[in-house]
Symmetry: C2
């Protein structure tokens, strides 16, 4: 059983998906075991950091041996919560919303797209991978009738906070936000931002800096 040792820092949490991805790759390459040193060379973190990170969640390794790749992959999957399924709704069926809706990979790892909502009447009824676009006014009723875990906000900046308030009223506790604003939410709600402009601007800074 995985026992969290204490409060895990955000720095550690942000590295977990990367471990997961590299371990997946090792499995694909039929690697059975790996030491923190070998993993360090691949992933680019220090061996020390890898051992520290993993020890936040349990003793997954074995002295003199290293880590069993498959076991560690599964453990990290459980830590991240990837062993469960999640119902999602996308709000805003513009460029980004459609791209996410069409991104079949998320389906495969347990994220089910349950609804897509848009304010534009012209979009209503159009299907994206078998999910018809609904009127955003139907969102409150939909959230009442369905157990939704994650709202994916892809609306323009100006309507993002309004949509956010709406999904909060619907009881949602996790928001994946693509709108270029910092959403105002209560403490028990998690927002993960994908701020594309900020990412691009950071790139440009570095481009000029070199």
């Amino acid at each position: 059983m995985i026992e969290k040792k204490k409060n895990i820092s955000m720095a550690v949490i942000k590295r977990l998906p990367k471990y997961h991805r590299y371990l997946q790759e090792l499995i694909n390459n039929d690697v059975d075991r790996i030491s923190s040193k070998e993993l360090s060379e691949k992933i680019g973190f220090t061996a020390s950091q890898i051992r520290q990170d993993l020890n936040c969640f349990g003793d997954f390794g074995q002295q003199g041996y290293g880590y069993n790749v498959k076991d560690l992959y599964n453990e990290i999957g459980v830590i991240l919560g990837l062993d469960k399924r999640y119902n999602t709704v996308i709000i805003g069926a513009g460029n980004i919303g459609q791209a996410i809706a069409n991104y079949t990979k998320f389906d495969k790892v347990g994220f089910e797209l349950t609804g897509i909502f848009d304010a534009n009447p012209k979009m209503l009824g159009i299907k994206i991978r078998d999910v018809a676009i609904r009127d955003i006014d139907d969102l409150p009723k939909f959230l009442e009738e369905n157990k939704i875990d994650i709202a994916i906000i892809c609306v323009p900046r100006i309507s993002a906070q309004r949509v956010c308030d709406e999904v909060l009223r619907g009881g949602i506790k996790a928001i994946w936000n693509f709108a270029p604003v910092d959403l105002d939410v209560p403490e028990d709600v998690t927002v993960e931002n994908v701020h594309l402009s900020e990412s691009l601007y950071t790139l440009v800074y570095q481009l000029n800096d070199k």
Copy 2:
């Protein structure tokens, strides 16, 4: 003139676009001046951190007064390099590639989409906002004939490193990478990753943690 004081840490750089965004908003609201304390309350960083961050690049404030919003906005724009124009190419015209291509906002702030490339022959010639999709085999020639600043990689995981190597040969020094891999590049090249899965997984971890 902006004089960089020393090596700026990545933590500071990643905050710059957020300053830029909040200052834009203040301009929209006709706010002329702001103190680090007021900005702190809006943006959620400490006033101390804001002053420290800005002082990496110069003395933009005035004791007893605070900062001139418009000036500071422009200064940060220059620091980020947003006063210049950049030519971009998108490689991979799938969901994400198309979404980025259609994202008109980047055009407006100086990022010109010069070419879109895809390996799928069915896509060739299709236009996205006046830019026709070209064959990926024509990329080397295109990079030779055009001065491209930024390559936006939106191809599947499996072909990302190959495409990356190709743009490196074409002399590109900045890559915005949407493929779920860590690209291998020489030291003088900057890669900024948008790893959507990692972002989603981090959200899920936090959802379960609360």
